[in-house]
Symmetry: C2
Subunit: 369 residues, 2 copies
DNA sequence: ATCCCATCCGTAAACGTTTACAGACATGGT
DNA sequence: ACCATGTCTGTAAACGTTTACGGATGGGAT
């Protein structure tokens, strides 16, 4: 393993001191002649600066980490896809931590900041415990949290707004004449689960619809749980005419069961998903889904972090991303969905933004499993 | 920003030298009393070792990078999901590079190894140019390539075996009585595109079926391309009774068009995808798909790299991962698929392995877009 | 008492950079 | 001729670790 050339090798070869080499390589003013000697020596030797040594001296690594539960989850995936190019453009490399939503792991990551292997961290925990808050307060590097965190935690925070999101969906269903709108949620002890449960009650009330326990099911955030929940729902409340699902995976499970039960979607039962992952466009019929802006949240987080790295003293900021409704066949039917399909973003067919209230009352910064 | 404590701070506080501190923290034999003093000082100060300084001294960073075209592609995603835990268990952090299949970017990553910010690299390029080979030869750290690379390139190499994979699919279709089997491919100047084109011809020959140009379409690896290609196919060869797609996205496009054209899947036309991404299970009808083992390739790559990091002198190895066929509704129908669904892996319904030849004649180590 | 050896620990150098400081030299003004 | 000024470059310290080396200490054998 031929040891690579260092600044010393170059200095000797060019007959100058290492200080001069460093100056030339960093573009500091230097005599023309010296510049030429150094550059050609560097060229000949194929010199590449050692980033570790540089980091040690400069006290910055040009690395940033993103910690989330599971990169396989399309929500986090959408975030990574936005975060990466933003950081890259600013000269940062991206490190990935998959924590499996394990609290101990997440805390480890936070403590690990003391090792100074990254300049900052973006993190999106599923649950936020007191320990999280303490670790955040003690963090040795700037942290941006995606997902709501109490005011005064002292970190930059990017939030979703499930309240408005759920309302968009229920307004849409109500507008289509649906009145028996069920809700299939994930665990209510998670940040998104809790926010979405509350949002459902509120939206019903706003529409003047009664809250009917028979129409509510709670499982986990996966497809199989969605299927089981909807099966139970059909057994108990056969007259359901719409199902609001707390994420797209649950909605996929719903589609499976409805198909098997011979219910047509959307004629008999309309289905709405949440997170507007690309699974929504793959499903059949394509899923109408509430976008909580995973991509936009990712981008916002990256930008907040970069800004904070420039200016460490700035007051912590809270950014809330507005939800949108991507309308597809699972609520309006294949025909109608097609007429609208030309516009819109990469995944969405027709998009409907938040009403008009600015949506900044948001509560849920989420990323459901 | 209170500067964190260093080994020096601890040494002063404990009244010992920095050498002793280091020894204690690294578990080298030391007098009981000293150990206690150092540990309690470290504890009180909340000391965390600086990984950058450590890396500089030790000449290793405990970081590994994975470079691929686009983390949004389910194939690479599957790889990351396997790579991450393997590396993590061995104490390495994972860095991500999304190169957009840009050759210059990929070469930059390879050259960047000289900066020594990682100990090794796993890379999965879509196209392998001469420049790639040169850069690989000159790489300043161990590299594992996922995707075929010529013998003698001197790097560890993980390959898929599309030849066997395509044969599995065509055997399956032939066994179902299909004789007019079309092929929709991606660009043939990519590693996977080229391999799959050749594999299709071979498999046809082995089955005694004629090669009919009318049954072959080439587009890009995306859903829209698949849709366009299949539309053209239907216009030209109305009697097609099966479509082999070069990846799952293309297959999704095929399903769209077939549905619109009123062709039943699989009764009228059977469809097979490739890569067996989780999209296959989401589609309707669920897609039969050739798994080229993205996950297993990811794992193999990570293991090869770890092994190489232990033993830098070892001869380069080639690992070929066996393809499998995940049989689902798009070829055998919903009923039949269900009876088989209980077994199998996380995504696959029924799986069929390679015939019996060991499959190590493989050529294509791929990751289609 | 003397010597030897083992045990423990401190000094200092090294990893590869950046940068404050000061020395060397040339230029121009008086 | 001298001094002030400016430009360029070299010396050395620093970033926070690890580790080779040797010095100090104490115990046991003679």
């Amino acid at each position: 393993m031929a040891e690579g050339p260092t600044i010393n090798t170059i200095a000797r070869r060019a007959g100058v001191s290492i200080a001069s080499v460093s100056r030339v390589l960093n573009g500091l003013p230097t005599r023309e002649e010296t510049v030429r000697r150094v550059l050609s020596a560097a060229e000949e030797l194929g010199y590449v600066p050692n980033s570790v040594a540089r980091s040690l001296k400069n006290r910055r690594t040009n690395q940033v980490a993103f910690a989330m539960a599971d990169i396989g989850n399309p929500v986090y995936l959408a975030m990574v896809r936005e975060i990466q190019p933003v950081l890259r453009a600013a000269g940062y490399r991206l490190l990935l931590h998959s924590t499996d939503a394990d609290v101990a792991d997440e805390l480890d990551v936070l403590r690990g900041l003391g090792e100074r292997y990254v300049d900052g961290l973006i993190m999106s925990p599923l649950r936020v415990t007191d320990e999280h808050l303490r670790a955040l307060a003690a963090a040795r590097a700037p942290v941006v949290v995606i997902g709501s965190v109490p005011e005064g935690t002292g970190v930059d925070n990017v939030r979703a707004d499930s309240r408005t999101g759920v309302r968009l969906a229920l307004d849409h269903l109500h507008g289509l004449g649906r009145r028996r709108i069920a809700f299939v949620n994930g665990p209510t002890d998670t940040v998104p689960g809790a926010a979405r449960a509350a949002a459902y009650r509120e939206a019903l009330a706003a529409l003047g619809l009664p809250y009917d326990e028979d129409l509510v099911e709670v499982g986990d955030f996966y497809r199989a749980d969605g299927a089981a929940a909807v099966q139970a729902l059909l057994d108990r409340a056969a007259d359901v005419d719409a199902i609001m699902c707390a994420n797209d995976l649950i909605a996929l499970g719903a589609l499976d069961v409805l198909r098997r039960a011979g219910r047509r979607v959307p004629e008999d039962v309309a289905v709405v998903g949440m997170d507007d992952t690309y699974l929504a466009a793959v499903a059949w019929p394509a899923l109408t889904s509430v976008s909580l802006g995973s991509a936009r949240r990712g981008r916002a987080a990256a930008e907040l972090l970069l800004d904070r790295l420039e200016n460490g003293q700035r007051e912590p900021r809270v950014v809330t991303v507005e939800p949108r409704l991507a309308v597809r066949a699972s609520t309006v039917g294949v025909r109608a969905a097609e007429t609208v399909e030309s516009g819109g973003s990469s995944w969405a067919a027709g998009e409907i933004g938040a009403a008009g209230d600015g949506g900044s009352t948001g509560d849920g910064g989420e990323g459901s499993r």
